[in-house]
């Protein structure tokens, strides 16, 4: 029995990601009966869900792509650091962006792109564009799957 609007091709990236993400979500369900879900818990869980989504996508792509390798490395380092510093709120997903002053329109856009794509800072232009294209497709897939799941739960 499949939910409406989801066609499952077992080998597609979308399906593999959906499966991993759903697994992570089901592990996240509150073991104790939650009648009062206060904002703090919702926010914490939403952060976990977000990390799980990126992690699932990066794992689905595997080490085939530079961006997924960089993202996996970043998430694992963050997790390790978080476990060592429990109690301190040092996690922030968005890094500070240093926009270099550059007269060339293309180069400054490139710098912005480098900050957005995982691992983009050390890539040459060609690889950066390739990785960006793949990254954008995967991100769009991730969003679509999350939307489908959320819509399904909303019914």
């Amino acid at each position: 029995m499949t939910p409406k609007g989801v066609s499952l091709n077992p080998n597609s990236r979308k399906t593999k990601f959906a499966r991993r993400f759903l697994c992570a979500l089901s592990q996240m369900r509150n073991p104790r009966p939650v009648s009062s879900s206060n904002d703090e818990e919702v926010r914490k869980r939403s952060h976990k869900i977000k990390i799980a989504a990126y992690l699932s996508m990066a794992r689905t792509v595997g080490s085939r792509r530079a961006w997924s390798r960089a993202l996996l490395f970043k998430l694992r380092t963050r997790a390790r650091r978080h476990n060592m510093m429990i109690g301190r709120r040092s996690l922030c997903l968005k890094k500070k962006r240093v926009i270099k002053n550059d007269p060339q329109g293309e180069l400054s856009q490139t710098n912005k792109l480098r900050h957005l794509v995982p691992g983009g800072k050390t890539m040459d232009m060609c690889s950066l564009l390739e990785e960006t294209a793949h990254f954008v497709t995967c991100l769009a897939t991730q969003v679509k799957v999350m939307q489908t799941i959320a819509d399904h739960f909303d019914k």
Binding site: V34, K50, Q109
Partner: protein, 91 residues
């Protein structure tokens, strides 16, 4: 393999054929640009729109995570949805 153009004069424009091809590939992916006539969109605009698109996708992931978190709080462990999920995962 692409040469490092930055090692040449800093004002060299990106004219490598490979890079043009990759930029046009990006053009197809970003919905903003796909609907315009692709001939008139310069590379810097493509990059800018790509950056904006990536940022908007990140925002959507944030919103969806928030939404899923709230929905998860209301899900009953033994409800039909959970069984659907389990059947999906088990396939």
């Amino acid at each position: 393999m692409s040469s490092r153009r930055s090692s040449q004069s800093g004002t060299s424009r990106i004219t490598d054929d490979q890079i043009i091809e990759l930029v046009s590939k990006l053009r197809q992916l970003v919905p903003e640009i796909r609907n315009r006539r692709s001939d008139k969109v310069p590379a810097s605009k493509v990059l800018q729109e790509t950056c904006n698109y990536i940022r908007s996708l990140h925002r959507e992931v944030d919103d969806l995570s928030e939404r899923l978190s709230q929905l998860l709080a209301t899900i009953d462990a033994d409800s039909a949805e959970a069984s659907i999920i389990r059947s999906l995962i088990a396939q």
